[in-house]
Amino acid sequence: MIASSVSTLVERAEALCRDLRLQSVRDWKARTGGLAIGYLPVYVPRELLVAQGILPVGLMGAGADLEIIRGDAYYQSYICHLPRSTIEMGLDGSLDCLDGLLFPAICDVIRNLSGMWQMLFPDKYAHYLDLPQNFDRELGGRFYRDELETIARDLAARGASAPTPESLREAIVLYNENRAVVRSLYELRAAEPWKIPTWELYVVLRAGLVLPVTEHTTLLEAYREAALADTTRLPMDQARVVLTGSFCEQPPLGLLKTLERAGCYIVDDDFIQVLRWIRSDVPVEGDPLENLVNSLLDDAIASPTRYSDQDEVGGELVERVQRRQAEGVLFCAPSFCDPALLDQPMAVAAVERRGIPWTSFKYSENSGQFQVIREQAGTFADSIKLWSEA
């Protein structure tokens, strides 16, 4: 009975993830009359949107489900897949319920997509959100605050309400709650990975891209409770690994299942980072906009999309491996992903310096076959287990 509860929750979440036409967003708009604003990976300050009465809607590609008919006409073969499926969804009407899109600073491909969107959909709001690469409050902070104020003004001009300190504080509280339960799920999975299979965690997290934040928090709490109560899931002899590199274009669900079936417990990952970009709570007291700005500057996770002023670029990855007591690293990046693949040699060097085993492979969100990866991950997991026994 409890097990069916897990599966019911996961099924619901998976249905939301697979609903490329965003029916739940359409329903929300019909119900509330509010604006819906889409955003691409990796991070946008959703608190600001919610404070303006807007539903933030995360777009992370169409996965393996969508056949690309129009999108390929816009890109050369050496460009990743996510922008193709994003354009496909734009052109086939799936995204017509969105009143605009925000394109955060990830890489040049997504940056340029913002301009393409402006030309393709001149009536919609399309804004490149330039996240600061300078983390001084007086420099990057000031610029970022200007950015946020510009966005707030632009959206208010399109019918959203202007954010107030109260509405911002309320939104911050809601997202702090959401971040807390996300953190606890990551802790739980690291402690007892057999209870929280990664593909399940993935879909319940991803449902948060389309759900209003309170509904998502409720879903996560219910899932956590159900998963904890399920006594049928027992530990297996699997290798504990950190998966890294999949922060933008997401791996197909089949790949996640493949990795776990091949003998890996994923105990940390880079998926859907918008939920975890800010590590801890955003302070509620004081100037809420300033708090949002400062949290981004001071409390954001490390990412290949963010300039690292640390001496060792892979240091944060090593720290995650140690904190999660992982035995190895899977470098799992989308093909042609500049940030992930340029970063990788530095991260590899960092784990190699500590003698942490690693392996690497690439995917595309619409990869249909995983045989090679299954063999590779299986061999990797086996070698880790042999090593730890030796």
Binding site: E67, A73, Q369, V372
Partner: protein, 423 residues
């Protein structure tokens, strides 16, 4: 009689088309491309001239057109025998005093004997190219001698591989046209007086070349004078226009590349797109799949058409084609369903190129080897219908000659506009 010729030196075959002064098509020829481009072009032209002569013979015959067919078979047999002579000479030279040498004469003698049946009314000729025809007979005889008389099959096969390259690059290996034709007339059973007269009249007409244009994919060096080279894109556009005058969009999917071309009402190219360096989605991809499935290339389409539930294939990467196929098969997917998905995936790539070039306008002409594949045509028709609405889709059984036809038309209309004709 004056004629203009267009020659299309392709990656696998070389085509020639000749037209008369009224731009009427009077002959065409095809041969496999080979290392020596000059020979390939010469043979394609010879073949086109042969077909033109046969056309003249047909015109000269008052009746008895049914006799043309045995005449042509007889003519091909004569050519085959001449080529066998060349092959034999080269084989013997290559073999020297090796152990295989003793078997060569026996093989070639048997091949000569078999030629009557091979070119008889019931003869089963799977290809028109000497390389394929002779190769299949030679190897099967070599196998027999290996089995029965202890010949070394590998040595014999190796000799053939070397020799055939040389035969192909030997000009005139097929003998002279007139000699072969006259010998062929003599072999036609019954009263041949009419036929002989028609042949003599046709042979007496002098065919004079007054213009030529060459084209071909990505060749750094084409064996044509520089002023007589035209881009294959332009030739293709004009050729498609000549075949179907209302053509506005042309899609060509060949072995190595895919082209999407827009033309105006005169057949002038207004824009074009070609696939990038990644060969995914070209005909070659189907070749890999056919090899992987142990099927003939021509069997893929009909098999895919039997699919009830096509599988969606996302990757048309030739590198992964084999692995993806094996995985799908091992998952229990049906061959026809996988193939249907693969055909759609290839056509989707073409749809991208079409969109980049300016879409699909009416009428739409599909050319190239893949246009012969019914499953590819079906997928294309469906996607065009879904994305662009009703379009007339033209496919000519002779679409392989599209580029050569365009080249011939350019040859007739004069070479490139003179330098300095700007504005």
């Amino acid at each position: 009689m004056e004629y203009c010729v267009g020659i299309d030196l392709g990656s696998t075959t070389t085509k020639a088309v000749i037209i008369d002064c009224q731009e009427r098509l009077i002959g065409r020829g095809i041969t496999n491309s080979r290392s020596n481009y000059d020979v390939a072009c010469q043979i394609a032209l010879d073949e086109a001239l042969i077909s033109a002569r046969f056309g003249l013979i047909e015109g000269n015959l008052k009746q008895g057109h049914e006799r043309l067919e045995p005449l042509e078979r007889g003519f091909r047999r004569q050519q085959y025998l001449h080529q066998l002579d060349t092959l034999s000479r080269i084989l013997v030279g290559l073999a020297g005093s090796g152990a295989a040498a003793g078997f060569l004469d026996r093989i070639v003698d048997d091949m000569r004997l078999e030629s009557t049946a091979l070119f008889g009314p019931e003869g089963n000729r799977k290809s028109d190219f000497f390389r394929d025809l002779a190769g299949s007979r030679y190897l099967s005889l070599a196998e027999r001698f290996a089995r029965e008389d202890g010949a070394c099959f590998e040595a014999l096969a190796g000799l053939y591989d070397k020799a055939i390259l040389e035969v192909e690059n030997t000009a005139g290996a097929a003998g002279s046209f007139e000699e072969c034709l006259r010998d062929a007339v003599a072999d036609v059973p019954g009263d041949v007086e009419d036929l002989r007269r028609a042949v003599e009249q046709a042979v007496a007409i002098e065919l004079v070349q007054v213009g030529s244009v060459g084209t071909g994919y990505g060749r750094q060096r084409l064996p044509f004078p520089e002023g007589q080279i035209r881009s294959e894109i332009l030739c293709h556009g004009l050729g498609a226009h000549a075949m179907f005058p209302a053509t506005r969009t042309v899609l060509d999917i060949g072995g190595q590349d895919t082209k999407a071309i827009q033309v105006d009402d005169q057949g002038i190219v207004t824009s074009f797109q070609m696939n990038d360096r990644c060969a995914a989605g070209c005909g070659r991809y189907l070749g890999y799949i056919a090899d992987e499935m142990n099927l003939g290339l021509h069997e893929l389409g009909p098999l895919a058409e039997q699919s009830q539930r096509p599988v969606r294939i996302n990757s048309t990467c030739t590198v992964f084609a084999g692995a993806e196929l094996r995985e799908r098969l091992s998952l229990g997917e049906k061959r026809e369903d996988i193939l249907a998905g693969l055909h759609r995936a290839i056509i989707l790539r073409a749809m991208s190129l079409l969109a980049r070039s300016g879409g699909v306008n009416d009428e739409f002409t599909f050319t190239g080897g893949v246009a012969k594949n019914p499953a590819a045509v079906g997928a294309l028709a469906q996607l065009v219908q879904d994305n662009y609405g009703e379009r007339t889709l033209n496919i000519s059984p002779d679409s392989i000659y599209t580029g050569a036809l365009g080249a011939a038309l350019f040859a007739h209309r004069g070479s490139r506009a003179p330098v300095g004709s700007v504005e």
